[in-house]
């Protein structure tokens, strides 16, 4: 698991600017979506082309978050990269710079039905969850996106970002969500990156400039509080 370090001076700066340490101080279940980015075999499985070993370690946290989100009346959304053969055309700058071997591997692996396409089997995907395809790093590009339409139609204004990898698809999705005016949080111990340094660089910058960063336990506690309030009403 990554050793997460949010620098104290960043916390001080956020407090000065926002008057508080965390931008997201409460969660309202029905307005909240948990986004799980790219937890597919291609990134999670041993020996897969873009394997990120820490991705296997965050599986229990993602399952806890998914459970708490559902119980609070929120929406769990599995974001799944689709890169069919046509992706070489609509995203040519990306593929053209790869070696032909790597580019073929990516298309084969993440085409629907491909060897790395499926969601990692230890993740607790339920019938009531949504699975939404994406074709770039960010799930919000090109815009307007299917993801945004689903969020808006459900009245969701808050997104919790988890998955792999922290600094690439998760951060791009989270940055774009924030600029589309969703209250956005990256969950520190439910994202995985190639190493601690990249992971922490993203979390620190995201916390400082884009949105909030909290841990799985903190987020589950916020969701539980919402469940208690809802039950009392």
């Amino acid at each position: 698991m990554h050793k997460v370090v949010i620098k104290p001076e960043h916390i001080e700066r956020v407090k000065r600017r926002s008057g508080r340490e965390h931008t997201v101080e409460a969660l309202h279940g029905p307005k909240t979506a948990l986004l799980i980015v790219d937890m597919q075999l291609y990134f999670v499985g041993e020996g897969q082309p873009s394997e990120c070993p820490v991705a296997r370690e965050i599986v229990p946290n993602i399952n806890l978050l998914a459970d708490a989100t559902r119980r609070a009346g929120g929406t769990v959304i599995w974001i799944q990269t689709h890169s069919g053969p046509d992706s070489k055309d609509y995203w040519s700058v990306y593929y053209e710079r790869m070696t032909p071997e790597n580019s073929d591997k990516r298309v084969e692996g993440m085409s629907p039905g491909g060897s790395g396409f499926d969601i990692w089997p230890e993740l607790d995907v339920r019938d009531e969850d949504l699975t939404i395809p994406k074709t770039r790093y960010s799930a919000f590009i090109p815009s307007p996106s299917k993801l945004e339409a689903e969020l808006r139609s459900r009245g969701i204004d808050t997104v919790l970002v988890t998955g792999v990898s922290t600094c690439t698809c998760c951060e791009s999705t989270a940055r774009d969500a924030m600029m589309l005016n969703f209250r956005t949080m990256m969950i520190s111990d439910a994202n995985a990156a190639p190493d601690d340094e990249l992971h922490n660089a993203t979390l620190n910058q995201f916390y400082l400039q884009f949105g909030d960063v909290q841990s799985t336990n903190e987020v589950v506690a916020l969701l539980e509080k919402n469940i208690t309030v809802a039950a009392a009403e």
Partner: protein, 237 residues
């Protein structure tokens, strides 16, 4: 490969493994390349501003050199400017609500269209042939943030050279989105700055590994000339 001191050896190794080369962009065709200069506004460059980014002063010379090179090759120079309008306070409430009242009023006043932070900094060599684009989000490509895609379409631009401030926020967000919209992106490392040196470094490495090629100002002119040289050779043959 030029010696770009902020690139980590493991980033170079990763790029080499994935793409088979350390530098993907070997030439720039001036007909389809534009220079994007991000947010070199008084709001960030005036020492009296609360958002002053001292390191931004150090990249002025390089940015002006890039702009001159682009003009010399007849390629567009585009200056991006952050702007805050009344409707943005509402449409981007998640960002503005986080600010204390004091910070919000300050930002709103200074970055308004007639605010004294909105203008490009005096040191920037802006010419009448250049284009200015206002944006209402960190990324110029965020939906409805600006008319940049339309402008680039008019120029026939497919390749962007990006510089400005701050590396890890507006520059990186713009670069990420541009790359996902299928623009080829080249970042001029020594013409970008952040108030936090470590954040600049992490951001450059992240962009280099996944989103853009990274080079130095001195190399851009050569890359712009390369394409012409090839054309010339081709027509001579």
């Amino acid at each position: 490969m030029q010696n770009i001191s902020v690139l980590w050896p493991e980033s170079v190794a990763r790029v080499q493994a994935q793409y088979g080369t350390e530098n993907r962009v070997g030439s720039l065709n001036p007909q389809e390349t534009a220079l994007l200069v991000v947010d070199m506004q008084k709001f960030y460059l005036e020492p009296t501003s609360t958002n002053f980014c001292p390191a931004a002063l150090d990249i002025i010379t390089n940015i002006n050199a890039l702009a001159m090179a682009f003009r010399d090759f007849g390629a567009p120079v585009i200056w991006l400017r952050n702007i805050v309008g009344n409707k943005d306070i509402k449409s981007w409430s998640f960002f503005y609500d986080r600010l204390t009242q004091k910070h919000l009023s300050y930002r709103r006043e200074k970055l308004a269209k007639d605010g004294d932070g909105f203008q490009l900094f005096e040191g920037m060599d802006v010419r009448s042939s250049d284009r200015k684009i206002n944006k209402t989000r960190f990324s110029a490509f965020a939906r409805d943030a600006s008319n940049i895609e339309k402008v680039l379409g008019e120029y026939g631009t497919h390749v962007l050279v990006v510089c400005g401030i701050v590396t890890n926020v507006c520059v990186e967000s713009t670069v990420r989105d541009a790359m996902m919209l299928n623009y080829e992106v080249l970042v001029a490392e020594d013409a970008c700055a952040s108030s936090n040196e470590r954040a600049h470094e992490a951001s450059i490495n992240n962009m280099y590994t996944h989103f853009a090629d990274v080079t130095l100002t001195s190399n851009i002119k050569r890359l712009l000339g390369q394409e012409n040289a090839q054309d010339f050779k081709a027509s001579a043959a």
